[in-house]
């Protein structure tokens, strides 16, 4: 009885070791919260036989995971950090995959009148002027990086009286914004796929400064010999193939297109 118990435990323990041919991909929360990964990954598995394991983290952490060699590739959206990742030799190269845009969401009543702003900076200035609550990701993610850049380019400065840094993912930040009646910056895909919008709507969109480019960066096998370089190449080829790009372009929520595929030939 006891021997059987122990052997069962042992089997459980051994059984939990992961198969070696899977590809570990760190992706941004916005990519996963959009629901696109649930559409693409089964197709990847059918077409190439590659099992992709997603680690859903902020761009900052995704880059850390890539630097440490704990993942085989990353899919992120923060240009400066991506370029540094390649220059410092952690990634082999950077390949653009698709784009969408950021939007400002806030309470339906729009107390700051951000709706009538002409640029993203102006929308932020109005939020600052009326001291309307604004929640920030505060987690060094791609969205957070962009938000800080937008504040820099505006003439306003965040003030802790109404500006709240959360240190949370996109979904958690939207939950908080909904509960506080606050403004926040989000990528369009996460917003469309978000289930708890009570009293919130898009208040500003369409400025070219809000373009959101996603790129794929395989981790360098020179620096981390154990990485699944083959798998990373297979996935890149698939994502940039006509089939992958078409699937990305056709993904819709409530009839709205979420991503524009824009991979170029290498």
């Amino acid at each position: 009885m006891i021997a059987r118990f122990i052997s069962t435990l042992f089997a459980l323990f051994i059984g939990s070791v992961v198969h070696a041919d899977a590809l570990r991909l760190a992706v941004t929360t916005s990519f996963h919260n959009s629901g696109l990964s649930d559409v693409l990954l089964p197709e990847v598995s059918v077409d190439t036989g590659l099992e992709v394991q997603l680690l859903v983290v902020g761009t900052g952490q995704a880059i850390r995971l890539g630097q440490a060699g704990d993942v085989d590739a990353i899919l992120v959206h923060a240009r400066a950090a991506e370029d540094a990742f390649v220059t410092e030799g952690y990634g082999t190269h950077r390949r653009e995959i698709m784009a969408n845009d950021f939007v400002f969401v806030g309470p339906v009543g729009d107390p700051a009148a951000a709706q009538t702003a002409t640029t993203a900076s102006q929308a932020l200035e109005r939020i600052a002027l009326t001291e309307s609550p604004f929640v920030s990701r505060g987690d060094d993610s791609g969205t957070h990086t962009r938000e800080r850049a937008l504040w820099e380019s505006s003439s306003a400065a965040p003030d802790p009286n109404w500006y709240r840094e959360l240190g949370a993912g996109m979904g958690a930040t939207l939950n908080t914004a909904a509960a506080m009646g606050a403004y926040t910056l989000t990528d369009r895909a996460s917003w469309l796929n978000f289930g708890n919008r009570r009293g919130m709507s898009i208040v500003f969109e369409g400025d070219p400064a809000l373009l959101n480019q996603y790129a794929y960066l395989p981790v360098s096998a020179e620096r981390h010999p154990h990485v699944n370089q083959n798998g990373a190449i297979i996935l890149e080829t698939w994502l940039t193939s006509e089939r992958g790009q078409t699937l990305i372009g056709n993904y819709r929520i409530n009839g709205e297109i979420l991503f524009t595929p824009n991979a170029k030939a290498p």
Binding site: F13, R24, D70, G171, A178, G195, N196
Partner: protein
């Protein structure tokens, strides 16, 4: 308030339809936690017993440290295990990060001091009662440990269940070392956090009710297997 009702409805729906993902996630939760608790008990109970019957110089300090470790913050345990198991860490070559094994390792570290400490408390009292008898029979230390652990088995079951209780609802450590990967390291608590972050409160709450039900069932099963609390038995 209506979220709670839709949560109960969601839990009911998931159970009735035997949702495939739910079954996988639940089994993985049980696999990780039961393995960790079994290892934690296998380490913690002997340690508690040894501390009860032994007298050595730093015994008081050792016990105080052990008691303090009961409050070990899971997030810190997770972070330390993460750094150790990362490819750029000392145990990186094993490639254990983001596997259920990593989650088990983290939970063993969290559970063992708790089991050891509660076991020690229970065994100390039994040892006080049995001390004179066992000494006069000229028993070896091993025989003493065996006698008191057997006679304290009910209390040791409680210690083990306390360890299970801490591990099954734990998220801080396993989120960091497991990474919440679908089909690989996603368990009930990390799935709840994920669904909450997506704003799917009903589904998150449904999973929460299933987690509570699971903890209840495991406790009941342990008591049933060890035949405690039966009519006419103490």
């Amino acid at each position: 308030m209506e979220d709670i009702w839709s949560g109960i409805a969601a839990a009911f729906g998931l159970i009735v339809t035997l949702d495939r993902d739910l079954i996988d996630i639940t089994l993985r939760s049980l696999q990780v936690t039961l393995t960790a608790v079994a290892i934690g008990a296998a380490l913690g109970i002997p340690l508690g017993a040894w501390l009860a019957v032994s007298r050595f110089r730093f015994r008081r300090v050792t016990i105080a440290v052990l008691n303090a470790l009961m409050g070990l913050p899971p997030v810190v345990v997770g972070l330390v295990v993460y750094i150790l198991l990362s490819r750029s860490g000392p145990f990186g070559v094993f490639g254990l990060l983001f596997t259920p094994t990593a989650m088990i390792i983290a939970q063993v570290i969290i559970v063992t001091p708790l089991v050891a400490s509660i076991s020690h408390q229970a065994l100390r009292e039994i040892w006080a009662d049995y001390h004179d008898l066992l000494i006069s029979l000229n028993t070896t230390k091993w025989q003493r440990i065996r006698t008191i652990t057997w006679d304290a088995r009910r209390a040791l079951l409680t210690a083990t269940l306390a360890g299970f209780g801490r591990a099954i609802g734990e998220i801080g450590a396993i989120m960091i070392v497991g990474g919440n990967i679908d089909q690989v390291t996603r368990v009930l608590t990390t799935a709840i956090a994920l669904e909450t972050s997506k704003g799917n409160f009903a589904l998150a709450l449904g999973l929460g009710f299933i987690l509570i039900g699971l903890a209840f069932l495991v406790n009941l099963a342990m008591h049933w297997l060890s035949r405690t609390e039966q009519r006419g038995r103490w």
